[in-house]
């Protein structure tokens, strides 16, 4: 391990460095986060403003009888799992490809940035145009290639709606993993590769036995952050399906924000947010523990 500065006569130093960060969190996040917890114990619905006041755990009791809550939690879990795993796997393959030396590598790397750089407003409208049953690019292409004979309703079909939405989000998420992993790969010393060649290891052996273990902490960290992000992000699903059909793509965050921001039921919406907060906290704790984050590899 590297040397760390030991706590000594200058032990106020680290706190000085953290002061600005603490200031931002305290000034702009502490109070808003506290209000969410506060409102979760209140009846606060703008359509029933007369009932406003403390209700204890009433919102949470309602929540456990709410089918839509459990459905949306399941959709969220599935969404996060599918997104993070696919983005990670595809991003990693892409990173391994771009790690090789070949002509025009810089250009390809730039292309990989694209989906991330495009504004979310457009990304969602673009994919809704692509998936459109009658005027969409996808059906037209597939028909011209002879793969489809009839137009598919990608976003209107119970069997394809989740997958189609997931693919659009995967498209947006690949760059994050590809770039982060690519960078980590480049840090692996070149002599390690030579050692593999000398030992007669195949390309696959080199990837799985040498490279992946070295990427462990990067992968743990990026997947965790991405999971939280995918859990909380709803703009794309909202534009593509509006959560339908019949709650098939309604995630917990979508249900929560609709409940509070659109319908004005801040009390119940906050209770959902508090539950989501603890779900994520639990998930992060277990994930970091099980994955052995930060531990040196044997």
């Amino acid at each position: 391990m590297r040397t760390k500065i030991k706590a000594g006569k200058k032990d106020w130093m680290p706190y000085l460095f953290l002061a600005p960060a603490a200031f931002f969190i305290l000034a702009f996040l502490a109070y808003p986060l506290a209000t969410v917890f506060f409102y979760s114990l209140q009846s606060y619905d703008v359509t029933k403003i007369a009932d406003k006041g403390f209700v204890g755990l009433e919102n949470f009791k309602d929540l456990f009888q709410d089918d839509i809550f459990f459905r949306s939690l399941r959709v969220s879990a599935k969404w996060v799992l599918v997104e993070v795993i696919s983005q990670l796997v595809l991003g990693m393959i892409l990173a391994l490809l771009l790690d090789k030396k070949f002509k025009g590598r810089g250009l390809y790397r730039c292309i990989v940035f694209f989906p991330w750089a495009i504004s979310g407003v457009l990304t969602s409208m673009l994919w809704s145009l692509i998936y459109n049953e009658n005027i969409g690019l996808l059906n037209s292409l597939l028909k011209d290639l002879g793969i489809l004979s009839n137009n598919m309703a990608w976003l209107g079909n119970m069997k394809t709606v989740f997958k189609a939405t997931a693919v659009a989000e995967i498209w947006r998420g690949i760059p994050f993993f590809a770039i982060t992993i690519l960078a980590a790969l480049q840090n692996i010393p070149a002599d390690l590769h030579e050692a593999c060649v000398v030992d007669g290891a195949t390309g696959f052996q080199e990837i799985f036995l040498v490279k992946l273990p070295m990427l462990k902490d990067t992968i743990i960290l990026t997947t965790l952050l991405r999971a939280v992000w995918e859990f909380n992000n709803v703009d794309l699903i909202f534009t593509l399906t509006g959560g339908g059909p019949s709650y098939r793509t309604t995630t917990l965050t979508m249900y929560m924000t609709n409940m509070s921001i659109k319908n004005g039921n801040y009390g119940y919406g906050s209770a959902l947010a508090v539950i989501a907060f603890f779900v994520l906290l639990l998930f992060a704790g277990i994930y970091l523990k099980l994955s052995g984050y930060g531990k040196e590899d044997a």
């Binding site: 030991k6 953290l18 960060a21 209000t35 969410v36 292309i111 480049q186 990427l215 906290l281």
Partner: protein, 280 residues
């Protein structure tokens, strides 16, 4: 010998094929965005899908830039993104440095708090944050958006920065201190130059987040002259009319600064990330 050659060739073909599949997947929607931006409205919503504009037009760009007020939005977004990047970088360097270089009480708690800030979606926090800025008399201020964006994006970048700092050997700082530098002096003169790639990375990540941020800009800004690009783009999606052409053109315009920035920092970005990401 020939078997080996054949294997090598097969590997090359497989590599090229795989790369091709990825590029098609990534570029197809981008291509579609470009093509759409050059089509007249009627052609965009036509049953006959055209892979190349039948009528090639620049009207969408001209109208997006002038009529829809994108030139103003562009400037506002640039202001938010540039200052947001400065704030995010400074905070991330300080926080990341402290989290890697020091051992102190409450370190793990602080890491956990950084993580927790990401657990509740911004949408749930709008009203209280709105009230804070109202009390600060900072509504309709682009600077308020800089502060909000900084608050939401620095925790992630600090965790990344912690890794970058960790990738740099502490002995170089120590050596400088032995030579008579103060600690801060050592950071400024010795660490920061080496940390440049990491800073470029954080800057690029921060730029994208601020540049494309929609929700807070929409909620906090109630003056047409101070709207940002994503809000302006969304205004093209009306209940009775959706101008896909202008939307696509606007998005192409919006992506230009990000790409310029990227092409400049691309080398730093990739090189820089490597030092950070391994240590996490």
């Amino acid at each position: 010998m020939t078997a080996r050659k054949g294997k090598k060739l097969a590997g090359k073909v497989g590599f090229a094929a795989l790369l091709l599949v990825f590029m098609v997947f990534i570029l197809l929607p981008i291509y579609w965005c470009l093509v759409t931006s050059f089509k007249p409205s009627a052609e965009i919503t036509s049953k006959e899908v055209t892979y190349w504009p039948k009528i090639f037009t620049f009207v969408n760009y001209a109208e997006a830039w002038t009529r829809s007020g994108f030139s103003t939005y562009f400037k506002n977004s640039l202001f938010i993104a540039v200052f947001g990047v400065v704030f995010i970088v400074v905070l991330s360097v300080l926080t990341g440095y402290a989290l890697d270089r020091f051992k102190f009480k409450g370190k793990n708690v602080f890491m956990l708090i950084l993580l927790c800030t990401q657990f509740i979606p911004g949408a749930m926090l709008i009203t209280p944050i709105f009230i804070i800025f109202k009390n600060l008399n900072m509504l309709n201020s682009l600077f308020a958006l800089v502060l909000v964006n900084t608050t939401f994006h620095f925790p992630f970048n600090s965790i990344l920065m912690r890794g970058f700092v960790g990738g740099i050997d502490y002995t170089i700082e120590e050596a400088a201190q032995i030579d008579g530098c103060s600690r801060l002096g050592a950071i400024r003169h010795v660490l920061l130059p080496v940390l440049k790639p990491g800073i470029a990375t954080i800057a690029a990540y921060g730029f994208i987040s601020c540049w494309n941020e929609f929700l807070f800009s929409f909620m906090f800004i109630s003056k047409q002259a101070k709207l940002t690009l994503p809000v302006g783009l969304k205004n093209l999606v009306g209940e009775f009319s959706i101008n896909y052409g202008q939307l696509a053109a606007g998005a192409v315009i919006a992506v230009v600064p990000t790409l310029i920035l990227f092409s400049y920092v691309q080398k730093n970005l990739v090189g820089g990330l490597s030092s950070g990401a391994v240590k996490g």
